[in-house]
């Protein structure tokens, strides 16, 4: 009877509030608490997401959580999400094995608009799981390397063990004329790389601040510090983009949980320019 119920589901659910069924086709354990899931549609797929957009992933019987896209079907052939287990739903997502089904709504929000950086230098700064939404940006820039100026990729992580995509980072390092630097907050035995906050990597970059488009993603405090430093170095604030994280629930500008001043971050973001974000993130509690 279960099969009858399944065939009764419409090919493409109506409206953005109804999840589309997807199946996990691959699961890669990135770190002790993070996995990357590759998804293929069971029903008609969602629209192809842009780098920087997010979807709502629904673990049946558990709940729904917003997760940025870490690989786009147009480039990867599958929809990819990197998930860190920090709560009940994300833990359930991380436990999904190939063959498991889940629901997907989206894609939602404003992406990174990578093509607008063509012709300029590109600076990508990622902290922690913030590397996941930037991975499609990096892949797009490196795939079209000739369309961009100098490229710098700076990655911060808590410890060496917490670094995402370690094998892929080595591939990025191997691309000629791409500056890749990693730093960790705390070294472990055997680590020979940088130790310190990610802002320390902003010194001595090959990119020229005045002709740089920057993509920054990580904890909000980190993004504030990094974006401020990039702008102070001479970059145009409108070309410094950050990805905001808020309490996305409906993801369609209805519930208001994600409001930040005049912004519904689910729809007006998550990617916003520093011009727009600086004032909003400076508002404190009184």
């Amino acid at each position: 009877m279960a099969a009858d119920v399944a065939t009764a589901v419409p090919a493409r659910p109506a409206g953005p509030m109804v999840p589309v069924r997807y199946r996990v086709t691959a699961r890669h354990q990135d770190t002790a608490d993070s996995v990357t899931l590759s998804l293929m549609p069971i029903d008609e797929p969602i629209d192809d997401p842009e780098p920087g957009q997010f979807t709502m992933l629904y673990v049946f019987g558990v709940g729904e959580v917003p997760i940025s896209v870490s690989g786009c079907p147009s480039r990867e052939g599958v929809l990819m999400h990197s998930v860190r287990a920090v709560g009940a739903i994300s833990r359930a997502l991380c436990r999904l094995e190939p063959g498991s089904a889940l629901g997907v709504r989206g894609p939602f929000g404003v992406g990174w608009d990578v093509s607008s950086a063509e012709g300029s230098d590109v600076l990508i700064v990622a902290g922690g799981i913030g590397l996941a939404p930037l991975r499609p940006v990096i892949r797009e820039v490196l795939a079209g390397r000739e369309r961009f100026g100098r490229v710098a990729i700076l990655i911060g992580a808590r410890t060496p063990d917490a670094l995402l995509y370690t094998e892929e980072i080595e591939q990025w390092r191997a691309v000629p004329d791409v500056h890749v630097e990693i730093t960790v907050d705390a070294a472990t035995q055997g680590w020979t790389g940088n130790v310190g906050v990610v802002t320390t990597l902003l010194e001595g970059l090959p990119t020229t601040p005045t002709s740089t488009t920057a993509f920054v993603c990580g904890p909000e405090v980190m993004m504030r510090v990094v974006a401020r430093d990039i702008v102070e170095s001479g970059a145009d604030a409108s070309k410094v983009r950050i990805s905001l994280e808020r309490n996305f629930q409906c993801a369609v500008r209805q519930c208001g949980h994600c409001q930040l001043g005049p912004l519904f971050v689910c729809a007006d973001g998550p990617v916003v320019s520093w011009t727009k974000a600086a004032g909003l993130l400076a508002v404190r509690r009184w």
């Binding site: 920090v86 992580a157 130790v195 906050v197 990580g218």
Partner: protein, 156 residues
């Protein structure tokens, strides 16, 4: 062969840009160049802090030794200052400093510079302000690391 003077090398360091030309002249009188190969030490914990360094190229690690091996606290790269123990009693290094890449450094003799700071308090004040800025920057970065920003957050 085109040799750059130690004075010009110092003047080109971003970390010293807000010092006046005359200050750079004074500092250059106490300076020499040195190259440290990976694995060699610029300083050892608890030894007299008779020098500080301006890193021109390379990278050094600030470390504490322990029974299980060195504990890596922070790395410092080109363009930055290493060492402020020379400024304050008891003028001993608080940590080990090890070159982790081939490192070209300008070595400043602390005795020489301290004498010039004492003789010319205005110069000494400008040097102190420069070092205070470096210390504030490091303190702020340390505070950010203490926040464990990448650690487990409140998520769903």
């Amino acid at each position: 062969m085109n040799l750059t003077s130690i004075r010009d090398l110092l003047a080109a360091q971003p970390v010293l840009l807000d010092l006046e030309p005359a200050d750079i002249d004074l500092m250059a009188g106490c300076a020499h160049n040195q190259v440290f190969e990976p694995g060699t030490f610029l300083a050892h914990e608890d030894e007299p802090a008779n020098h500080f360094y301006v890193l021109r190229e390379g990278k050094v690690a600030i470390e504490l030794h322990s029974a299980t091996g060195p504990l890596l606290i922070e790395t410092i790269g080109s363009g930055d200052l290493v060492g402020w123990s020379w400024l304050f009693p008891p003028n001993r290094w608080a940590f080990d400093v090890e070159a982790v890449a081939t490192t070209k450094a300008i070595v400043i003799d602390a005795w020489c510079l301290r004498d010039k700071c004492e003789t010319d308090p205005a110069f000494g004040y400008r040097v102190m302000k420069r070092f205070a800025q470096v210390m504030v920057d490091r303190l702020q970065m340390t505070r950010l690391r203490l926040l464990d920003l990448y650690g487990a957050g409140n998520g769903r």
